[in-house]
Symmetry: C2
């Protein structure tokens, strides 16, 4: 499914969270898709089931997945996690902080606009 970087400063469960989040956002995992079970994924990654469980709990808290006891865990449809105000705020604050730092380092406004342009094109976004 994905690889772990044991040399990373990030903890394992954080890496699991980030990787799955990316798969969902990129559309590799779609709404209502079933995720690997805790035991299955823990075996595949050769980590402890508790570690995977912690990652799933975090992903559920963030609204990306939901679980049905006895059945498994599934990808939430995006409509359910729409604009959780607090989270959107945090993301925007992060972006603001990072862009300010890039500007301080000498990056130009044009270069930043270019970065966004590439992102939008990559997603085949419209103009709204």
């Amino acid at each position: 499914m994905f690889q772990l970087d044991l040399k990373s400063r990030k903890s394992i469960y954080e890496q699991v969270v980030d990787n799955i989040k990316e798969l969902v956002i990129a559309g590799v995992l779609n709404s209502e898709d079933k995720l690997p079970s805790v035991r299955e994924l823990s075996k595949a990654l050769t980590v402890n089931p508790n570690t995977v469980q912690k990652a799933y709990r975090e992903l559920e808290y963030q609204g990306f997945i939901y679980t049905v006891s006895g059945l498994g865990t599934f990808v939430t449809s995006p409509i359910h996690s729409v604009m959780d105000g607090k989270k959107a705020h945090e993301l925007q604050d992060n972006i603001r902080r990072d862009i300010k730092e890039l500007l301080y380092m000498g990056m130009t406004r044009a270069q930043i606009n270019e970065l966004l342009q590439e992102l939008f094109e990559e997603r085949g976004e419209g103009n709204d």
Copy 2:
């Protein structure tokens, strides 16, 4: 100088790093300004001198400040920390990741452009 949030998930030294970084980027602390001494700031924040020292070491590593033994620590002129490739890359990756997440959550391209617009205006930036 600033306040610490002891309830935060962030460690103390990280909060010190972030706060000082913001002061530098916002222009509250200017190039060649002298920072409070390790002992002075640790007393003001009622934390251990070692914790402040760790924060200063990190800020020096990131290129925001420099130290002269026996004299103190000072703000680096921005020209010295220009576009450290690795760091700029990390920042851009962060921005990419956060914007993708915002788009997934339903934020529109227009709203994101607006966010940037506000940032640029706030800084009184030109058009390049």
